[in-house]
């Protein structure tokens, strides 16, 4: 098993874990963490591809994804906090009642 295969397999496992987490969890914080997992799975592949090509563009893209993930987490946590303040529980299906 070469290093590349190992990294790709890790990435695939991380992505699957993240996807299943987003699908099955009902807690917004857990869902956000799962999304981070999926993003990092993508990052792994980006860095791997950059190394394989001998260029740094993939690594730069990975950095951008990290920043994006941080921004997304801030907004997501803000929403989760606002939800918790108003409803005392953080089930993501709770606010469905406000749909038109």
């Amino acid at each position: 098993m070469t290093a590349e295969t190992l990294v790709l397999a890790t990435s695939a496992v991380l992505l699957a874990l993240g996807a299943s987490g987003v699908l099955m969890r009902r807690n917004p914080v857990s869902m956000l963490m799962s999304i981070e997992l999926m993003l990092n799975a993508g990052n792994l592949v980006l860095v791997l591809a950059a190394r394989a090509r001998g260029a740094v563009d993939g690594q730069a893209a990975a950095l951008i994804v990290l920043v994006l993930a941080a921004a997304e987490a801030v907004i997501g946590l803000g929403i989760a906090l606002a939800l918790f303040r108003t409803r005392e529980n953080v089930d993501v299906d709770g606010p469905a009642e406000i749909h038109g």
């Binding site: 996807a19 987003v22 699908l23 869902m31 993501v92 299906d93 606010p95 469905a96 406000i98 038109g100």
Partner: protein, 598 residues
């Protein structure tokens, strides 16, 4: 001088800054510098050696076919800027007194919006290519929305602003399409008609159509007329400046600028002319139906812009530009004197609440009379020369359309006479009809000072009266710029196309003027009868819909089907986050499966 004029749009910024910061004792007084400087520089350029200039900063928007920051100074832009500068200066001074009853923060907001408008309008006029034109184009649209909705707490003001925004969006989209459709390097307003630039699917016809759609949206032509009458919800100085004299003329300006492209697409030109003639007739008819003073004038603007469109479409861009200049003077005069009436009557705009004000407001009476006669085209006044130029060109190009335009002058006389006699002569208003909800002022100490002192003179503040003087002089004398010396056409040269010499009065023009005066006299007789409440055109259409039943006919059917489909599709939005995620993941999986298939 040329460079100074090219950057003239920056002159409004100091005033804007000072006004926003609240410097100066009188809110908005600092803003006067902007239009005054623009008018001075533009007039100075026109009087000076008139050296054209181009300021080009290449690669400003590199993703567009021609994304240079291109300012162009020539006779056409200088003339248009002079019109914008002078009219805005008059309106600014007028607004200082007109808006006095607003709180200081409201006045500052008002003048800041006006400054944004003047700056955008100057960019629009000075733009040398489509990309920069679009910047000014959307800028004036935005300023128009902000000013229409200025009294946002009043019912209907936001809706009226949104209507303007929606109509303008159509025009902006058409303009944007034209920009991205052109081949690389094309977009200069003067070279749009060259074979390399119209080498697009659809050719010159498509590009010209897009520009005509954009111009129709801005100038309230054809089916896109609807926003202009609603725009009267804004303060009257705004109606005079933006929705009568300058911004709505931007569409005409664009088509005059690109008249060579229209000449290369004769079918589109003829369609433009037909739209213009129909709008001229329709606007006149609709004005007769209005129960609101300002809406009546708004439909008059729609109708006059129709004349300009007809002029351009029939191959006489110079006549259209000439009419634009004279129309700016007399229509601004009409609106500002209407504002004087509304101001003196404390915000009452309904015709039913106005009447018999000749002795109470002699200044407004005289100004409105001058404006009306110029609008009808009484020989010797400015409107006569420019309308005559359009009628003559129409007669040469297409006799049928020319006769229709001349006939529309009868409607002009009829509707402006109806407003004039209804407001200044006419019967006294039925006092029970004068309801206070239209009243703008908050002081309610006396029931209505306007009613109590109808026989005596009402207040005509000097700051409101004086701006009418230069406009009235313009409304009378602007025609002599062209007749008999041909000064204006010599000035514009070929920037506004070939210009036929203007005659004092042509046979068709004389017939039209007689028709107009006949209409004016006829409405004087009619105004002795009490005014009847008539619905406006959009309201009338709504009534027809209501009586016919919304479901009848294919229009109703389509609407019902759309609503039903929307209701069914709304069921997709369950609000269950988990389900959304599942659908997304499955969707990505399907895309991957299809994409990765060997």
């Amino acid at each position: 001088m040329s460079l100074l004029l090219a950057w003239a749009w920056l002159f409004t910024l100091p005033g804007l800054l000072l006004t926003v910061l609240g410097v100066g004792r009188r809110p908005g007084a600092a803003s006067l510098a902007g239009p005054a400087l623009i008018a001075a520089v533009a007039l100075g350029w026109l009087l000076g050696p008139r050296t054209p200039a181009d300021v080009v900063l290449a690669n400003w928007l590199p993703f567009l076919p021609n994304g240079a920051f291109h300012l162009r100074v020539d006779a056409l832009s200088a003339l248009m800027l002079a019109v914008v500068g002078v009219v805005s200066l008059c309106v600014y001074i007028y607004a200082l007194a007109y808006m006095e009853e607003e709180p200081p923060s409201g006045q500052r907001r008002f003048f800041a919006f006006l400054d944004i408008f003047v700056a955008s309008m100057a960019i629009l006029v000075l733009a040398g290519n489509l990309a920069l034109l679009l910047v000014g184009w959307t800028g004036v649209g935005l300023a128009s929305f902000l000013l229409i909705s200025f009294w946002h707490e009043r019912p209907g003001a936001i809706g009226a602003g949104l209507q303007a925004l929606a109509a303008n969006a159509v025009g902006d989209a058409a303009l944007l399409l034209a920009i991205v459709l052109l081949p690389a390097g094309c977009g200069d307003l003067l070279t749009l008609q060259t074979p390399t630039c119209v080498a697009v699917p659809g050719g010159a016809g498509l590009v010209a159509t897009l520009l005509v759609i954009a111009a129709s949206a801005k100038s309230a032509q054809g089916p896109l007329y609807f926003w202009l009458p609603s725009a009267m919800a804004g303060p009257t100085p705004v109606s005079a400046l933006i929705h009568a004299a300058t911004m709505v003329a931007a569409g005409v300006y664009l088509l005059v600028r690109t008249h060579a492209l229209l000449a290369a697409a004769p079918t589109v030109a003829l369609a433009t002319a037909v739209i213009g003639v129909l709008t001229a007739l329709g606007g006149g008819l609709a004005s007769l139906q209005q129960s609101n003073f300002k809406r009546g004038l708004a439909y008059s603007t729609v109708s006059q812009l129709g004349y300009m469109f007809a002029g351009i479409g029939l191959g006489a861009p110079f006549a259209a530009m000439f009419h634009l200049v004279t129309h700016a003077a007399f229509k601004a005069l009409l609106f500002l004197s209407a504002g004087l009436v509304i101001h003196a009557r404390h915000g009452h705009e309904e015709l039913a609440a106005l009447g018999g004000l000749r002795r109470a407001l002699p200044g407004a009476h005289l100004a409105f009379l001058i404006g009306s006669l110029a609008l009808i085209g009484v020989p010797g006044l400015s409107g006569a020369f420019s309308k005559d130029a359009i009628l003559e060109a129409a007669e040469r190009a297409n006799l049928l359309l020319g006769l229709a335009l001349a006939g529309a002058v009868f409607l002009t006389g009829l509707y402006i006479g109806r407003l004039f006699f209804g407001v200044f002569y006419g019967p006294r208003p039925d006092e029970s009809r004068v309801t206070s909800h239209e009243s703008r002022v908050t002081s309610s100490s006396s029931p209505d000072p306007g009613l109590a002192t109808r026989e005596s003179r009402l207040d005509e503040p000097a700051l409101i009266l004086w701006p009418l003087v230069p406009l009235a002089i313009g409304a009378v004398l602007l025609g002599y710029l062209e007749w008999p010396s041909g000064l204006l056409s010599g000035l514009l040269g070929d920037t506004a196309g070939h210009a036929e010499p203007v005659r004092f009065i042509s046979p068709l023009g004389a017939a039209a003027a007689l028709l107009g005066l006949a209409g004016f006299a006829l409405s004087a007789r009619q105004s002795r009868e009490p005014a009847r409440e008539r619905p406006g055109l959009p309201e009338a259409v709504e009534q027809v819909h209501a009586t016919a039943g919304a479901a009848s006919g294919w229009v109703g059917g389509v609407a019902e089907a759309g609503l039903g489909l929307a209701g069914r599709l709304a069921a997709v939005h369950t609000g269950q986050l988990g389900r959304y995620v599942l659908v997304s993941v499955l969707g990505i999986a399907v895309i991957l499966l299809i994409g990765l298939r060997p």
